[in-house]
């Protein structure tokens, strides 16, 4: 009786030991597989964000000693008119992306299915802008918008209108750059919509046709509702992408004239690497991070609720 008990106990111990050993091996395996990615990610993403947060509480020129000033940078930031201008401009980029790029992308995608000749060539060309590097796009359009020799003003002259200064005029600079942003990114949304449209069953249109629906009715009652998930995901990409905008603005105007095209990104860059206000720049950078974080969480929550309600 007792011996049986002892053997059983030692057997349980053995099983537990084996399970522990197996568990240890599993932990080691998982660690080895994820370690390279995790190390790179911690060093170049997680640690820098925490450092940015800590720098934002100091007054610092990047080389000499830091002085702790608490929330001073943030207080200054909230009274900084240029910061509010840049925040507004970022909002404009978001609005243009959602309300111009996405509809245009959808129109371009619809055109790809249009029963007209040469559409294969059209579709190849439509995608081209998205392939060009942002720096090259910026420089190309800087010259196209040139006040004197730019092709756009040449055309305006040719049609008998006055020259427009475009990028050097506070009133037109933002619109000009936003046009370029639309030019660059609409093809991306075109592809997203095209993929979604390919997925819509032909039989839906056929039965609608039998019921006597015209093209508009088919679009508004079949295509558009079925594209809703793509519209939502495109909007998410557009919003998150717009908050990160930098390259094209930096290249085309550097945020000028007189901060008319300043973004949080360009303002942060100037404060950090031209004025060497590293502490202040860190505060801007951390605000950018917070905005992106809040927007992402909001989108997730809204998306989750929408799905719970059974919508798409």
């Amino acid at each position: 009786m007792e011996t049986v008990e002892v053997t059983r106990r030692s057997e349980t111990a053995k099983v537990v030991r084996q399970a522990k050993k197996r568990n240890m091996r599993k932990v080691v395996t998982i660690s080895l597989f994820t370690a390279p990615a995790l190390i790179v990610y911690l060093v170049y993403v997680v640690y820098p964000i925490l450092s940015t947060l800590s720098y934002s509480f100091y007054s610092w020129d990047g080389t000499s000693d830091k002085t702790f000033i608490g929330f001073e940078n943030y207080v200054q930031l909230f009274h900084d008119a240029i910061f509010w201008t840049s925040l507004t401009n970022n909002a404009w980029v978001v609005i243009t992306s959602v309300f111009v790029q996405i509809p245009l992308g959808m129109i371009m995608a619809l055109m790809l299915f249009a029963p007209i000749r040469g559409i294969r060539l059209f579709s190849s060309v439509y995608f081209l802008p998205f392939l060009m590097s942002t720096v090259a796009i910026g420089l190309l359009w800087v010259y196209m918008f040139d006040p004197i020799n730019g092709i756009i003003n040449q055309l305006i002259n040719f049609l008998g209108f006055e020259n427009v200064a475009w990028l050097s005029d506070e009133n037109t600079a933002l619109i000009a750059i936003l046009l370029v942003v639309v030019w660059q990114f609409s093809p991306f949304y075109m592809i997203l919509f095209k993929a979604a449209m390919v997925g819509i069953g032909e039989e839906l249109y056929e039965s609608a046709e039998i019921d006597g629906a015209n093209s508009w009715q088919k679009f508004f009652h079949i295509t558009f509702p079925l594209l809703m998930p793509t519209i939502v995901s495109s909007s998410i990409l557009a919003i998150v992408g717009s908050l990160k905008a930098f390259d094209i603005f930096y290249i085309m105007t550097g945020g000028g004239p007189n901060h008319a095209t300043e973004l949080m990104g360009t303002y942060m860059f100037k404060q950090a690497f031209i004025n060497f206000n590293m502490g202040y720049a860190s505060a801007i950078a951390f605000i950018m991070f917070l905005i992106a974080l809040v927007v992402t969480i909001l989108i997730q929550v809204i998306d989750f609720n929408r799905k719970k309600k059974g919508a798409f």
């Binding site: 170049y44 029963p115 059209f122 060309v125 720096v135 290249i251």
Partner: protein, 273 residues
């Protein structure tokens, strides 16, 4: 006749979009083939004069160096990313463990991250490591910021590989690494292709890290070099257009030869199937 009249609006929209998307390219290439005086006198002329001199100038200004730098750093970073991301995606998509979900979210949340939030610390880090103003300084951030989308694409793909395959291998005494290397990795090829194209194009065009971490011309990548050209060439518009054309050429050529792969790669993960 009636049929083709009804299609007129479609042709008009199609052509307007064609001019909108295509004309800037025509302008860039045709201007790059003009000499200075033709550029000023006949701005609208397309391909009436073919002048290769601007391209020779651009090569003399050292564009080749920027090309080589861009290729080196993009290829090195992308190859590293493919390996590191594939390794990490294996347990994330095929093993149950406690922090699986948290770790996955930590990685993919990097997709929404504004680079600016890491810029100053990475700049200081590169100085402290003695890497500032070298291509090596770019490698770390390039790999790190390519990881989120790569892990996202690869985990999605790996989840769909049937479990039975590796269970058979496990019975045969294959280790996890053996399963990964011999079974999973060969099946990943299409996903790795997407990862390669997406990241290569993004890194080829990357600007802000290069702007902050590199300062001397011999270490500049193509986007940074182009911006540098802008300063020197500001009065020689055809010369700058030649540089822009050359810089855009590799992507355009690759696109011409494998449209579908490039489109799928560039929209990485956003388009399913």
């Amino acid at each position: 006749m009636v049929q083709s009249l009804r299609k007129m609006p479609l042709y008009v929209i199609g052509l307007v979009l064609l001019v909108f998307t295509g004309y800037p390219f025509v302008y860039m290439i045709s201007t790059s083939l003009k000499d200075q005086s033709t550029f000023f006198e006949r701005p609208f002329a397309i391909f009436t004069s073919i002048e290769w001199g601007n391209y020779a100038d651009v090569f003399q200004m050292g564009l080749t160096r920027y090309f080589i730098n861009s290729i080196l750093v993009s290829v090195a970073a992308v190859v590293a990313v493919m390996l590191i991301a594939a390794l990490a995606s294996y347990p994330l998509s095929r093993m149950n463990f406690r922090f699986n979900r948290g770790l996955f979210l930590l990685f993919i949340s990097g997709m929404m991250l504004p680079i600016h939030a890491t810029l100053i610390p990475i700049f200081k880090l590169s100085q402290n490591m003695g890497l500032y103003d070298s291509l090596l300084a770019l490698l770390g951030p390039y790999i790190a910021f390519s990881l989120p989308i790569s892990i996202f694409i690869l985990t999605q793909f790996m989840q769909e590989i049937p479990k039975s395959l590796e269970e058979a291998a496990k019975i045969d005494g294959c280790s996890h690494f053996g399963i990964f290397w011999r079974i999973i990795l060969p099946m990943l090829t299409p996903a790795l292709m997407t990862v390669f194209i997406y990241n290569f194009i993004h890194l080829w065009n990357e600007f802000i890290f290069a702007l902050v971490l590199v300062s001397s011309p011999e270490n500049m990548t193509l986007p940074l070099g182009l911006q540098d050209f802008y300063g020197e060439f500001s009065v020689n518009v055809p010369g700058l257009m030649a540089a822009l054309t050359l810089a855009s050429l590799p992507m355009l050529v690759v696109y011409l030869f494998s449209q579908e792969k490039v489109v799928k790669g560039l929209t990485g993960g956003a388009v399913k199937g």
